[in-house]
């Protein structure tokens, strides 16, 4: 690999400075602020604040409702990540095998990714609308009285379906380019060695795809935890009521809608810690199994 040589020791730091400044202003500074205000109870208009120590954390962690939301977030994240990765991979493998018409097939799958999450939520909401939703009518045909917005489980199913639908194209693009960059020689060698397509996929293709899959795993978890916000907001129509919501939506409700800054800050600190622990876990335990070619 070619190495760039700098004549001065400080020059590289200078080049890094703008980037570091942006990271500091938009990430570290707000994080420090969040940690700080999580120890206070603050008047919404900012006229005064009272130091309450860990009381905000104690309130949250002893709240039945918060723990319920945490549980749903876990289930939601696992399902969205698992389903969108699985389906994305399946579609990519099939697209990779197609020779003719593959271009239009790929375009059709990819365009969904260009849809903004709130728009996806809106489209999803129309599919699941109680009065006009075609999917609700389809469910009714099978005797399932689907009540999105009223029934907790039905709303959860709608949220997961729309979130997965929105994320599949992203995974598809990465998996497909991963598959297409696999060395032809390795594939041919595998073809000679083994007749079973499934075996070849599990023993050769999948391990070679592991770096892509690992990257996507992290991206999908972040997506499920944070970026589904727009979809959730549209599906619950700004009124969560008894519908399922995720932790990040709860932060928004308490902080922006409820003006409870201390409680909301404590929640975002907890969320930050969860992501921190998840990332460490993934890099320490899962990445060891990933082979970078």
């Amino acid at each position: 690999m070619k190495r760039v040589q700098f004549s001065s020791r400080w020059l590289p730091y200078l080049f890094l400075a703008p980037q570091m400044a942006i990271i500091f202003v938009f990430f570290y500074w707000p994080s420090v602020q969040a940690v700080q205000s999580s120890f206070y109870l603050e008047d919404p208009f900012g006229f005064g604040s009272t130091f309450v120590g860990l009381e905000n954390y104690a309130d949250i962690l002893s709240s039945h409702e918060y723990l319920g939301i945490a549980k749903f977030t876990l289930v939601f994240t696992l399902l969205v990540t698992g389903l969108s990765l699985g389906l994305g991979l399946l579609l990519a493998v099939k697209a990779d095998a197609v020779l003719r018409g593959s271009h239009s097939y790929k375009t059709l799958l990819i365009w969904v990714y260009a849809v903004a999450p709130p728009v996806a939520g809106l489209i999803g909401m129309m599919f699941f609308d109680q009065h006009i939703g075609p999917l609700v009518r389809a469910a009714a045909f099978f005797g399932w009285d689907m009540k999105v917005g009223l029934d907790y489980t039905d709303t959860a199913i709608a949220m997961i379906t729309v979130s997965v639908w929105k994320q599949i194209p992203y995974n598809f693009i990465f998996f497909l380019s991963g598959l297409q960059s696999l060395p032809a020689s390795v594939r041919e060698a595998a073809l000679i060695d083994c007749r079973s397509g499934a075996r070849r996929f599990l023993d050769v293709t999948l391990p070679l795809l592991a770096p892509t899959a690992f990257f996507l795993l992290i991206m999908n978890m972040t997506y499920a935890l944070f970026e589904t916000f727009g979809i959730i907001d549209v599906i619950v129509k700004d009124k969560a009521a008894n519908n399922p919501i995720t932790l990040v939506y709860k932060v928004y409700m308490d902080g922006f809608r409820g003006n409870d800054l201390g409680g909301s800050s404590a929640q975002s600190v907890i969320l930050m810690l969860i992501v921190f622990v998840l990332t460490i876990f993934q890099f320490r335990f899962i990445e060891r199994r990933v082979h970078y070619g």
């Binding site: 208009f45 409702e65 009223l150 700004d238 969560a240 003006n259």
Partner: protein, 434 residues
């Protein structure tokens, strides 16, 4: 949409043509037709004088407008006027340094101000404990019952129910005629807050929260309130009551589409409903339980008020006062009332609407204001609770769980009371540091 763009254009035009004038901004939480009418109001105000140019800015929903106003205040970039909705009133009234009381502002600008000019139901809600107006009542509404007249005819019923006892008697007939007998659009507002005012029951301790922030507790577990929700649940199970979730329009839609016979909505929905309803309709008062002693009092005011935010120079404050004065003039109030369905907030505007024959043409438009002018009771003046938007969220969650069959009415009310009281105590702590 085209209309909206057009009024935006006129606005931009007037803004550039009067460069010497003082600019003031007004952040509000209204969209759709009501948002358009607000733009028209601003255009009228800007055309009526040369000193001030008012720019209204829609900030989304009521909650979003309040959050945006608070965030702007913290960064020193607040608008001159902020619209704050009923449930958020306690948040802003308990931050006295953030607002100039409307009454002080108007008197300071040299205008006369008489509280008695305002109708009964509006007089106390946005005032401090001495009755001084902190917010300027603007869009005021009442929860009223809209009636699908065709449905009643088909079921052979003479008129709308005045009491819930009467409703119980007619519900089976409406159901037999193929209608959902009753739908509503906001349980917290229509069947909790206004349940307490309509039946003159105490909603919260400390004089409904007016007397003190600390130690206020919410009375949702009052036996009468528990009974109301038990009835709603029973009606839901019998098919007499349709519930489609916490969203406003999900519940309005069956009425618009001629599938429901009765809909409890806002008197402010009248303007929109005239365009969207597919059948003839009329309106009547929010029913009450005859069996409850002292029932039949006026309802709380709903909607929102305008607050003059502090931190602006005298010229801008004068413009804000000018606009408040303009807004409460009978002609402007009548225009607003006519275009939206929100009630006129002054007696003079109501008289003007009557004299103009507005209610002969649209009898339903008079229902909201008449309901607000009903004799008041000890507990129907208003309520003031901090973090109330969150308490409403707790209610919405628990009410949804009642209809989904996940909890009993008694358990739901107990949960709301304990979580609500905790939120009230938490709010008391945040303002104690002021």
């Amino acid at each position: 949409m085209q209309k909206l763009a057009l009024s935006g254009l006129t606005l931009a035009f007037t803004a550039t043509s009067t460069l010497a004038a003082t600019d003031i901004t007004w952040w509000h939480g209204m969209a759709g037709r009501n948002g358009e009418v607000i733009n028209e109001l601003a255009t009228q105000f800007n055309a009526a004088q040369n000193a001030c140019v008012l720019t209204p800015v829609s900030k989304g929903t009521y909650e979003e407008a309040l959050a945006a106003g608070i965030a702007a205040f913290r960064s020193g970039d607040q608008p001159n006027i902020l619209q704050v909705f009923d449930a958020g009133a306690a948040t802003i009234i308990n931050a006295p340094k953030a607002v100039i009381p409307a009454e002080d502002l108007i008197k300071g600008a040299g205008y006369d101000f008489n509280r008695e000019d305002f109708i009964q139901g509006v007089r106390y809600f946005y005032a401090d404990s001495d009755g001084k107006f902190v917010g300027m009542p603007f869009n005021s509404s009442a929860p009223i019952m809209y009636v699908n007249t065709e449905a009643l005819q088909k079921a052979g019923i003479a008129g709308a129910p005045k009491t819930w006892e009467e409703f119980e008697a007619m519900a089976p007939k409406l159901k037999a005629a193929g209608y959902i007998p009753l739908v509503q659009s906001q349980l917290t507002w229509e069947f909790t807050e206004n349940f307490f005012s309509r039946h003159d029951l105490q909603f919260a301790t400390n004089n409904n929260g007016y007397d003190a922030v600390a130690g206020t507790e919410i009375n949702v577990d009052a036996p009468e309130h528990v009974m109301m929700y038990q009835k709603l649940k029973d009606w839901y199970d019998d098919g007499w009551f349709g519930y489609f979730g916490a969203g406003w329009s999900d519940n309005q839609k069956p009425f618009e589409e001629d599938k429901a016979a009765l809909w409890i909505g806002s008197s402010g929905s009248f303007g929109g409903l005239q365009k969207s309803a597919q059948m003839p309709f009329t309106a009547s008062f929010l029913p009450y339980w005859n069996a409850i002693d002292g029932a039949g009092t006026n309802t709380f005011i709903g909607g929102a008020a305008l607050f003059a935010m502090s931190g602006h120079d005298d010229a801008q404050n004068k413009c804000t006062a000018d606009f408040f004065e303009f807004l409460t003039s009978p002609e402007v109030q009548y225009f607003w009332h006519k275009s939206t369905g929100y009630v006129p907030v002054t007696e003079a505007a109501y008289e003007l609407a009557k004299a103009d024959g507005h209610y002969d043409r649209f009898p339903a438009a008079e229902v909201g204001i008449k309901q607000l002018m009903l004799p008041g009771g000890e507990w129907s003046k208003g309520y003031r609770m901090g973090f109330y938007p969150q308490i409403r969220e707790v209610m919405e969650r628990e009410y949804g769980r009642i209809f989904a069959g996940e909890t009993s009415v008694e358990d739901a009310m107990a949960t709301i009371k304990s979580e609500g009281d905790a939120l009230l105590a938490r709010f008391a702590k945040t303002t104690a540091s002021n």
